[in-house]
Every structure is written in structure tokens, then in C-alpha cells.
């Protein structure tokens, strides 16, 4: 058994292997790319922290906001009557000779690379759960092999189909599980499952329709999760995006999850228990 000190030394030696210099051609090529790349401009930046303001300052600031909003409102209701107020956003057509100013939204420094989600071009059919959907291209699929009894499954659980990013694994995956409804009412089953397993994490639920069947989906910034029932079967479909990878959330958001749900075909008659 390797003791801790030995392992640290081995690890350091292993990590010491390898190049420590960047080839000049790579640096030159990078700087050539830089020369042709425009920097993002930040016109608005939130302060590090909200400045402490006394009551008069707060009232003055509020008054300025009210006046500005009022002026904008008047101008939008009757745009031809005068030129836009100073500081109002340019609108296309307001001045045909000048292009509209680009909007500048401050970006989080933690989202440096916009890596798009892969296309939903991989058909996935679960014979155990009786469901078909379009999965992201390149993602790994692992079918469920055992019956689901409820709860929120993870990628390594055999009770759910897992469709996951091959690199990020349990940090980015779709999970699918299902169970027979038995005597339960379909809509009530979805609401009950949500309340039992997910309401603590995400109290607000909204109705949703998946492949013509009624269900519930978590609202707000929770994990994206749907309970839906069709025929004699109840389904759980979830998208887990690890909060540790802050760059994922803007890409794999509620809209993306709904685009996956749009491809779902529920086939309870094909399910195998």
C-alpha cells in the first residue's frame, strides 16, 4: 500500500513530466488571432457592492429613475413627436443613416467560452421505460436495468436511463425513470411524486404537457425535472447540470430542456417491468 508521503512524491514526479515551454509558433499564431479579434466592451458594470446611501440619496435616485422611465414612456407612446430622450436606447429605424448601437451586456468572468450544446440528433429509445427522445449528439447512453421505486436518480443508478456528457458525466446528464401507476390517478401521481421527492428542493411547480400528457415541472432556478403520466405509467425526466460548472447553466437551461421534452414520445405500452 502506497503511503501518503510516497504518493505525494510519486504524484509530483508524474506531474513534473512533460513540456514546460510554449512553442513560439503557437504564441505567434495566438497573437495573430488576437490581432483579428475584437474585445468585448463593457459599457455597464455593476459595482462590487451596493453603495451605502442615505435616505436623501435614495429618494433622489428613485426620483431620477421615475423621471427617466416616465420620459421613456412618453416617447414610446408617441415616438414621432420628439427625438428620443438622452440616454434612451437606439431603436432600428430611429435613425436610418446610423446603425443601432450594439447592446453591451456585462459577462461573468467565469464564462469565458461559449460552447454550444450539441445537436439533438441521437435517437434514444428505452425499452424498459417505454420512451423515445432525441439525445444530444455524442452523449453516452446507459439504459436502466432495474425497476425504479421513486426518488431522484443519479447517473450511476441502474433504475434510470442515463444519457450523459462523456466528459462531464454526472455533472451534465439526462435521467429517465418510470413506474406503473397502479390504481393512482395519472395527474395526481405527478403532483404527488413531485411533492414527495422534489418539493423540498424546489417548492414551485408548474403544469406542463409532454407528448400530449399532463405533468408538472419545477419552476425557477431548480434542477430541471418533470413528472408526467400517460396511460398506466408515470415518468420522471430530469436534466442535472452541476452548479460546480457555472459555464453550463446558460447553455443547458430551461429552454434547452424543453427542446428535449419536445422530442419525447411516451410509449407506456412498450415498457417492460
Amino acid at each position: 500500500m502506497t503511503n501518503e508521503r510516497d504518493f505525494d512524491r510519486i504524484a509530483r514526479a508524474f506531474m513534473a513530466d512533460g513540456p514546460t515551454q510554449l512553442a513560439d509558433r503557437v504564441l505567434d499564431s495566438s497573437l495573430a488571432d488576437v490581432h483579428h479579434t475584437r474585445q468585448r466592451r463593457v459599457l455597464l458594470r455593476a459595482p462590487w457592492r451596493t453603495p451605502v446611501m442615505n435616505m436623501y440619496a435614495k429618494l433622489a435616485a428613485a426620483a431620477v429613475v421615475v423621471v427617466a422611465v416616465g420620459a421613456l414612456g412618453v416617447w414610446f407612446l408617441n415616438p414621432g413627436s420628439s427625438s428620443p430622450p438622452v440616454g434612451a436606447p437606439a431603436t432600428p429605424g430611429a435613425s436610418p443613416s446610423e446603425p443601432a448601437a450594439p447592446s453591451a451586456v456585462p459577462r461573468s468572468s467565469s464564462v469565458p467560452l461559449g460552447i454550444p450544446a450539441p445537436a439533438l440528433s441521437q435517437d434514444f429509445t428505452s425499452t424498459r421505460n417505454g420512451i423515445t427522445l432525441a439525445a444530444p449528439e455524442g452523449w453516452t447512453t446507459r439504459p436502466a436495468t432495474e425497476a425504479w421505486k421513486g426518488g431522484i436518480p443519479n447517473t450511476d443508478e441502474v433504475t434510470a436511463d442515463a444519457i450523459y456528457d462523456p466528459v462531464l458525466q454526472d455533472h451534465l446528464f439526462l435521467g429517465i425513470a418510470s413506474m406503473p401507476l397502479g390504481a393512482a390517478d395519472a395527474e395526481q401521481w405527478a403532483a404527488d411524486q413531485y411533492a414527495r421527492d422534489f418539493a423540498d428542493e424546489c417548492p414551485d411547480a408548474q403544469p406542463i404537457t409532454v407528448d400530449g400528457a399532463a405533468g408538472v415541472i419545477g419552476a425557477g432556478d431548480c434542477m430541471h425535472l418533470v413528472y408526467v403520466a400517460k396511460g398506466d405509467r408515470g415518468y420522471l425526466i430530469l436534466l442535472r447540470v452541476s452548479p460546480d460548472e457555472s459555464w453550463l447553466a446558460p447553455v443547458y437551461d430551461r429552454a434547452w430542456f424543453e427542446s428535449v421534452l419536445d422530442t419525447v414520445q411516451l410509449r407506456p405500452e412498450d415498457a417492460v417491468d
Binding site: 469565458p112 462531464l168 459555464w247
Partner: protein, 185 residues
């Protein structure tokens, strides 16, 4: 000096940015290789990092945090490289032909086992392991740079260490024939 260069580069000074890139290039390459274990991909990740850093530099609030911010961009570029690698190519990679300094403490077998085991690690664990064992960073510093909770940094290092240690121990364990003294007839 670095702060002054960062501030100039934030306002579009390409020469200042080129100086920063020259200062950081070797470090970025070294870390990228430790995460990706592939020279070509490490070079691609560094190139992406330099361009992305130039693009996003005006959004950096505190110029004194430039180094950590750059590492964070590099790690995300490495993640992107690994995603591309898994999707479009096989995972067999040629070992670097760059001359490397070897530590006699590490046997060839250990090195091979570690190499194979390291390639099985998820990228987030690779990054924490490299920051800790190559750059010598402590976990709170790593957590701050990667913008992850300290507990997450700890668990990533823990899992990476467990897997790599198991790989070495498995290699060191006697084979069945060694252990049983099995003889050929």
C-alpha cells in the same frame, strides 16, 4: 508591472497583451499538458485561452486577479478539448516527444499505470490534481480560482488521488502466479 500591462490590455493595447501572453505562455502550456496529457491538444487549449482572454479582458474586474482568471479560462479550454477528443477521435494518444525530466523515484510501470489511470479521470478532477501537485497550490486557492466550493475541490482531489493510488497499488500487487508460486510444468 503585470497590473499595469493588464490595465493597458483591457483598453485594447495589443502590445501590452502580447507581453502578458509571453509571460504566461509557458505556464499555460505546462498546466494544459498536465490536464490533457497531449501536446497538440494542450497547444490548442493555450491558443484558445489567449484569444478568449483578449476578448474577455475588459470584463475582468480586478487586474490583480489576472493570473487566476487566466487559469480559469485555460481549464475551461481544456474541458472543451477533452469534450472534442471524446466525441471525434479515439482516446489513444501519442506520448509527447518533448524531452522530459524524469524522477528516478517513479518507475516506468508506475508511470504507465498513472498515465492510464489519469486519462480515466474526469476533467474537473484532473484540473484540481494538476493545480495541487504541479503548481503546488493549496485547496482554498484552487477553489477560488476555479470558482468552486472548497468541499468540491477537496472531493475532486480525494477521488483523483484514490483512483491514481489504486492504480499504483494494483500494479505493485503480486500477480496471481507470483503470489501462488504457480509453476509451469
Amino acid at each position: 508591472m503585470e497590473r499595469a500591462l493588464v490595465e493597458l490590455a483591457q483598453h485594447g493595447d495589443e502590445e501590452a497583451f502580447a507581453s502578458l501572453a509571453r509571460m504566461a505562455g509557458d505556464r499555460l502550456m505546462a498546466v494544459a499538458f498536465r490536464i490533457l496529457r497531449d501536446v497538440d491538444r494542450a497547444e490548442d487549449a493555450v491558443q484558445q485561452t489567449i484569444v478568449a482572454a483578449w476578448q474577455d479582458l475588459p470584463t475582468l474586474r480586478d487586474p490583480d486577479r489576472f493570473a487566476g482568471w487566466l487559469y480559469r479560462i485555460l481549464v475551461h479550454a481544456c474541458y472543451a478539448e477533452l469534450r472534442r477528443e471524446r466525441r471525434w477521435t479515439d482516446t489513444v494518444r501519442v506520448l509527447p516527444d518533448t524531452p522530459i525530466a524524469r524522477d528516478d523515484f517513479l518507475s516506468v510501470d508506475d508511470r504507465d499505470q498513472l498515465e492510464r489511470a489519469f486519462r480515466r479521470l474526469p476533467p474537473d478532477q484532473r484540473a484540481v490534481f494538476a493545480f495541487h501537485h504541479y503548481l503546488g497550490m493549496r485547496l482554498p486557492e484552487i477553489a477560488e480560482i476555479l470558482e468552486i466550493p472548497l468541499g468540491t475541490a477537496k472531493s475532486r482531489l480525494h477521488y483523483a488521488t484514490a483512483l491514481l493510488r489504486a492504480a499504483i497499488d494494483a500494479d505493485a500487487r503480486p500477480t496471481r502466479s507470483d503470489a501462488t508460486g504457480e509453476r509451469s510444468a
